[in-house]
Amino acid sequence: MIKGTVKIDAKICKGCELCIVACPQNALALSPNFNDKGYRYVELIYDACTGCVNCALVCPEAAITVYRQAKSSKKSQLKSE
């Protein structure tokens, strides 16, 4: 069952790869394709995502929205910590 997932705004991703190294599940990778800004952008490559938010936290472009199978109705996971 899927624990979590991410939506990545490919338009504003700059392909910095910081999310890739931050993801404990190694679930992210650079796409071979380019976006409007000329960058290769990041994609979720398989369903291992746990919704841990790590990638989103380090994403400079604030391009990642994270979803998780969780009760928390908090706006962000951070606050609950």
Partner: protein, 258 residues
């Protein structure tokens, strides 16, 4: 926010993180992987959470983050190079009930702005100073900063910073912490998710202290500059951990005695 996502298999996922509301839609002009953006995100996240958008006034520096006002959806002023603390003083003194912060690079805060920084902290101005130390002048193309490490190559230290010529990197955060006006002084980073979490806590605290009129809060963020350092963003993380943090150790420098 609080949006749900319904997957094909029927699983319902809850949104647990998204772009802060108090960011505008303008895409960052920063280089890929630049720490400035992350700090912007954290600041606006906190503004969201404390619900202080209408009370917060930011001061942008001259440096790569000069355009911070394009991204942060709050009232902002752009200060002359090095004068953000003076500008913030001007704002805070006439609007003491608002929450005022400066956002400054190492050239801005620790070189040309040294006098303003020291005296603002010494007066204990009730503001938050956010100090992005990337050890270089990003904006102008990678010149040596007061915080550039010994031996580090920049365009004005092409053979590495020579301490006999330029002295040792200036730990202005430690100086600031010595001043009685400084209430809370901490050194943070954004090089990994936990660091980002800690920074967010620090910023939250700082705004809370400001609401309580405690004096100056000073947050240094040891950050990166992939372009100036001539590294990929991922490489900068290693450099931070191996080279920068030993000289600029992370953690609180001065905490309130409560």
């Amino acid at each position: 926010m609080n949006e749900k996502l319904l997957l094909d298999d029927g699983t319902e996922l809850e949104q647990v993180f998204c772009r802060p509301d108090t960011l505008t839609d303008v895409p960052y002009h920063y280089c890929p992987g630049c720490g400035h953006s992350v700090v912007h995100n954290v600041l606006m996240e906190v503004v969201d959470e404390l619900d202080i958008q209408d009370k917060t006034i930011g001061v942008a520096p001259v440096g790569c983050s000069v355009f911070a006002y394009h991204y942060m959806n709050i009232d902002m002023q752009e200060a002359a190079h090095g004068r953000a603390c003076a500008v913030a003083t001007g704002i805070k003194r006439v609007l003491p009930d608002k929450l005022v912060f400066t956002y400054q690079g190492d050239g801005d805060l620790a070189a040309i702005g040294t006098a303003e920084t020291i005296h603002t902290v010494n007066r204990g101005e009730n503001i938050l100073i956010v100090f992005i130390n990337n050890g270089i002048y990003g904006m102008t193309g990678g010149q040596m900063a007061p915080t550039t490490l010994p031996g580090m190559v920049t365009s004005t230290s092409p053979y590495g910073r020579d301490i006999h010529m330029s002295g040792y990197p200036l730990k202005i955060t430690e100086l600031a912490a010595q001043l009685p006006g400084a209430y809370y002084v901490t050194r943070q980073s954004v090089h990994n998710p936990n660091a980002v979490r800690k920074l967010k806590k620090a910023v939250t605290k700082a705004f809370e202290y400001q609401m309580q009129n405690k004096g100056t809060c000073f947050i240094e963020v040891v950050s990166n500059c992939p372009s100036g350092w001539k590294m990929t963003p991922v490489e900068t993380i290693k450099y931070l951990e191996e080279v920068m943090f030993p000289y600029y150790p992370l953690g609180d420098v001065k905490v309130p005695k409560e």
